[in-house]
């Protein structure tokens, strides 16, 4: 147990940073259509938070809270969400992945041309796709690191 | 009916022809002497030695076409030498072929 954990200083700092990294990752995901970032970037940051916990507390302890099966189901749900949004494009509008939310009340505001401070309520389906990809990437990258750490931990 | 540039190929006709020839052969076989069918005549003659049973003469895969490979020994040695099974060599072949193709494509323009 104490072998797997790092020293108390590292674990404390990791605990302190964990919510901060997570909220920052959500910020990057949600503001993907306004500031640099987006689903993949935010997802990688969020996965890094879990990777940090793996190194600070040990893979076994993380596995108790979030097993790789759960994480990969989470990932599948993200992928499904992406495809479903695309298929809604068939049904509600013209073609696959077409941006059917532009001009609608949710995420539908069209920003003025040129430099502007940006508004969260714009972008059509882009925020939805960002969230889908974000879920997918968090689940995927975290689960792959977790399973590799676990596979190594059981040797000898 | 598949038309090629020189002629045509029709498997249905081919099968019909095959069957017709087979029937003709069977008929011709019917003209043969009855007492030669099923008897000593059908057995192979191995210098008077008794034919060994099928179980004993089954040749294993490693020995089939031994002579063929022995005849082409030089070629096979060269081939076995380049099939090293090392990943680096695989990549090297890719790079080498690309380099050759570069030279080929650029030389055509020069000439």
């Amino acid at each position: 147990m104490s072998e797997e954990r790092m020293s108390v200083i590292v674990t404390t700092i990791a605990s302190l940073l964990f919510p901060f990294i997570f909220i920052f990752s959500f910020y990057v995901i949600m503001h993907g259509h306004l500031t640099p970032g987006g689903g993949f970037q935010g997802g990688a940051i969020g996965a890094s938070a879990i990777v940090m916990l793996i190194v600070a507390y040990g893979a076994r302890e993380v596995y108790k809270k979030a097993s790789d099966e759960k994480l990969s189901i989470f990932e599948s749900v993200g992928g499904l969400l992406f495809v479903l949004v695309g298929i809604l494009g068939f049904i509600l509008a013209a073609s696959f992945l077409s941006n059917f939310l532009v001009g609608e009340p949710i995420f539908g505001n069209i920003p003025p041309f040129g430099s502007n401070p940006g508004e969260l309520n714009s972008g059509g389906i882009l925020p939805l796709l960002n969230i889908a990809v974000g879920m997918k990437v968090i689940g995927g990258l975290a689960s792959v690191v977790l399973i590799m750490a676990l596979a190594g931990g059981e040797k000898k | 009916m598949l038309r090629t540039t020189g002629g045509y190929w029709d498997p249905v006709l081919w099968i019909i022809g095959f069957i017709v020839i087979a029937i003709i052969a069977y008929i011709i076989r019917g003209f043969g002497r009855k007492d030669y069918k099923g008897g000593e005549q059908l057995k192979p003659y191995l210098s008077g030695v008794e034919e060994p049973s099928k179980e004993e003469v089954h040749i294993r895969a490693g020995n089939i076409y031994w002579g063929f490979m022995e005849a082409l020994k030089g070629y096979y040695d060269a081939m076995m030498k380049i099939h090293t099974g090392i990943i680096n060599d695989y990549i090297a072949w890719f790079v080498g072929i690309s380099a050759l193709l570069f030279i080929a494509v650029f030389l055509v323009e020069v000439i």
Partner: protein, 86 residues
């Protein structure tokens, strides 16, 4: 100034890449690879591609290194002697 920065960064990146390939100690190679990824991210950033820079940062700063270190932990750290042919 911008050009000088780019030239410096180019040199650094090539240097770190060479170091990463040259070391026999795979852990040191990993460290050098992390440094290269860091500088690559700065390069992206200076070429006005912040989106890509964030992606490279998120991936190169921890996930690549984490994967490599875990693999080295489960295999062996040193490259074999005579690792280079000819």
């Amino acid at each position: 100034m911008f050009e000088i920065g780019l030239i410096l960064l180019s040199i650094f990146m090539v240097a770190t890449a060479i170091i990463a390939v040259w070391f026999k100690d795979l852990l040191a190679s990993t460290i050098s690879l992390a440094a290269m990824s860091l500088l690559l991210s700065l390069y992206f950033y200076m070429l006005h591609a912040p989106d890509v820079a964030i992606a490279e940062a998120g991936v190169g700063a921890c996930i690549t290194t984490a994967l490599l270190v875990i693999t080295i932990k489960n295999t062996e750290r040193m490259e074999e002697e005579g690792g280079e042919e000819e």
